[in-house]
């Protein structure tokens, strides 16, 4: 008796996969739709995990679209926020936020400007509150820079061959009157929370899928050759506004994101998924990629994800040139580097009073 499984390759079977000598041999990415050429230009956006993706791609020599770059008149050590993503978008945790940003950039929606003054007198764009750590000189500067940011997002869409977007959350806070979402609840990083003006939302599969479809539509409308590479951040929720355990909310959020992405990838030829979520969180890893606190991913975990990515999608790219010093670090150096690594501009840490940095620093 034979079954359709009989002729399948080893990566389709759990036992064979679990016995693979390393993550790259598991075949995590064997279902890929497309690979990439060295000449392809990558645009990056998304949650804090996407920052690592972008950094490693650049370190290996991939071409990263830099639609917003530090001007020589801006000192390097000024907290300018350039170079984290392709634009100074800050973290985009939800598909809704990406959708709204693209709609503004492409003229499908009026530009949104909401800003507040920090205690140190500088101004913050509430739609990207940590994207520019030094803040802005004035309210007018926030508005003008936002116009340029939207211009840069459009340029990024036009110039890129691939948009790598890492989805992080389904929970978000929206401006009730304006009907737009924030990357982090007002009051956590800057501004003040108001129960009247701000409302909690937790997007379901249908909403995330609709947002991603709209994103794909917008991208295709401006760039016919562009492809979408979606990933789901393995980083758990720092806090939940749902009346349940953050562990349960985290599982629910990631499941929703994963399901929505799966639906989209099945439906749209331009969209594909890369399984960084499974590589880090799956049983094969046996939890070895979690940093202390079991929420963030270690540098080793990110390196493994990128190794799988490069081997599967860009075998011509430089191997093993992750931006980490090769020499074994001293304890103090290692701790400092790990802290810096974990402090990957993660707005979500501001949700937990125990980890919230001082505002207006």
């Amino acid at each position: 008796m034979s079954t359709p499984y009989d002729s399948l390759p080893p990566e389709r079977f759990w036992r064979a996969s679990a016995a693979a000598p390393d993550a790259a041999a598991v075949g995590f990415d064997c279902g890929r739709k497309f690979g990439f050429a060295a000449a392809d230009r990558f645009a990056t956006a998304g949650s804090c995990f996407a920052q690592h993706f972008s950094r490693h791609l650049a370190a290996r020599g991939a071409r990263i679209v830099a639609a917003e770059e530090r001007h020589p008149l801006v000192p390097e050590a000024s907290g300018h926020g350039y170079g984290v993503f392709s634009t100074r978008s800050g973290n985009l945790y939800t598909a809704r936020h990406l959708r709204e940003l693209l709609e503004q950039a492409l003229g499908a929606r009026a530009p949104l400007v909401e800003c507040v003054r920090r205690p140190d007198g500088r101004w913050v764009d509430l739609l990207r509150p940590r994207a520019v750590p030094m803040g802005f000189a004035s309210e007018e500067h926030v508005a003008a820079d936002r116009r340029f940011h939207l211009h840069a997002v459009r340029r990024m869409l036009e110039e890129m061959d691939v948009l790598v977007f890492t989805l992080g959350l389904t929970e978000a806070w929206e401006n009730a009157e304006g009907g737009y979402c924030y990357p982090v609840v007002p009051g956590a990083v800057a501004g003040e929370f108001s129960a009247q003006r701000h409302r909690f939302v937790n997007y379901g599969v249908g909403a995330v899928l609709a947002d991603l479809r709209r994103v794909a539509e917008l991208v295709e409308g401006v760039n016919r050759r562009a492809r979408l590479l979606l990933t789901v951040s393995p980083v758990a929720l720092a806090a939940t506004a749902e009346p349940r355990s953050v562990m349960v909310s985290s599982s629910a959020s990631k499941s929703i994101l994963r399901a929505a992405v799966d639906e989209l990838v099945r439906a749209l030829p331009i969209a594909d998924y890369f399984p960084s979520y499974e590589i880090v969180t799956g049983p094969y890893a046996r939890g070895r990629y979690w940093a202390e606190g079991a929420r963030e991913v270690t540098e080793e975990g990110v390196a493994v994800v990128m190794e799988v990515f490069v081997r599967s999608r860009m075998p011509g790219l430089a191997q093993g040139t992750a931006p980490v010093a090769a020499a074994p670090p001293s304890h103090e150096d290692g701790a400092r580097r790990l802290q810096a690594f974990l402090d990957a501009e993660c707005d979500e840490l501001f949700l937990d009073p125990a980890t919230r940095p001082t505002q207006g620093a």
Partner: protein, 290 residues
């Protein structure tokens, strides 16, 4: 005014004062400044950079026109005079800076103490370097020129001001010292605005190589730097009771640039510009409190 009375005006000038001196005084005849001709510099600057053309210390010249400024004492601080900086900033208590006048400046200010108005035309050329097209395209916010170029990155005004503050300090500290040591009415003449068509300049002053390499920044950006510099400088000078004399409107285009017929070299006004400036100074001196 009897001839025995003191001078009608003290001038404390760098290169922008030459056009004024040409329009207002007989300095060329008095100093016989035929100095070496240098094709890099405009007619007003022949001899300017040649050592020894101007005395190291103030000298007296006569007013040319029918105005009331007949006796003028000018201190032209030329490169050739090899004078030390007028003022040195000395760090004092934490957060405090004290000013120390050079021996020459101290000597001059003690001699000038009195009621005779003092007009400064110190520095004012610094913005020219910022208006060469050295950087990738950019813009910044300036309230006096609120339009922002679409599609260009905005440089935080704090970084622009870091540069401008240095330029402002060059003028501010010597004049702050003057206000400390002498009660004379004091005014500073702002430099001419950027030239309408700098590419038409025959005399490229010291920037020939840089211009050949970079070219000029767009007029709106050159003007924005200039306006921010003038605004910041005026704010600081007015805070110490120094009057500020703006460029004559007749010499400026509708956009605010220096009209070609009033330009000399890259950044200076010519004698006609000096004449308009002289009229503004006369007007101020008439109303300056004794």
């Amino acid at each position: 005014m009897p001839p025995s009375a003191g001078p009608d005006l003290y001038l404390l000038v760098h290169s922008h004062g030459i056009a004024l001196l040409d329009a207002l005084t007989d300095w060329r005849a008095r100093l016989k400044s035929g100095g070496a001709t240098d094709p890099r510099y405009g007619a007003a600057y022949q001899g300017w950079y040649a050592a020894g053309v101007f005395p190291r210390m103030p000298f007296e010249v006569a007013g040319l026109g029918a105005g009331r400024l007949r006796r003028i004492v000018a201190w032209v601080i030329s490169a050739g005079a090899l004078l030390p900086p007028l003022v040195t900033r000395v760090a004092g208590a934490p957060g405090k800076t004290t000013l120390e006048a050079s021996r020459e400046y101290d000597e001059v200010l003690r001699a000038w103490r009195g009621a005779t108005p003092v007009v400064s035309m110190l520095f004012g050329n610094e913005h020219v370097r910022a208006t060469l097209n050295v950087w990738p395209p950019y813009d910044f916010l300036e309230p006096s020129q609120p339009a922002v170029a679409p599609g260009l990155p905005l440089v935080d005004e704090g970084f622009i001001d870091a540069q401008i503050d240095e330029w402002v300090s060059l003028v501010y500290f010597p004049l702050a010292m003057l206000k400390q040591l002498a009660p004379n009415p004091l005014a500073h003449v702002l430099p001419p605005p950027p030239r309408e068509r700098p590419e038409a300049a025959r005399h490229l002053e010291k920037l020939h190589d840089e211009i050949a390499r970079y070219g000029f920044a767009p007029a709106w950006l050159r003007l924005k730097w200039y306006r921010r510099y003038c605004r910041k400088l005026a704010e600081r000078l007015q805070s110490i009771g120094c009057a500020v004399i703006e460029p004559p409107a007749q010499a400026c285009s509708g956009e605010g640039l220096l009209r070609e017929e009033f330009a000399d070299g890259l950044s200076h006004g010519n004698q006609a510009y000096g004449a308009l400036t002289a009229a503004r100074i006369e007007e101020w001196a008439r109303s300056a409190p004794a």
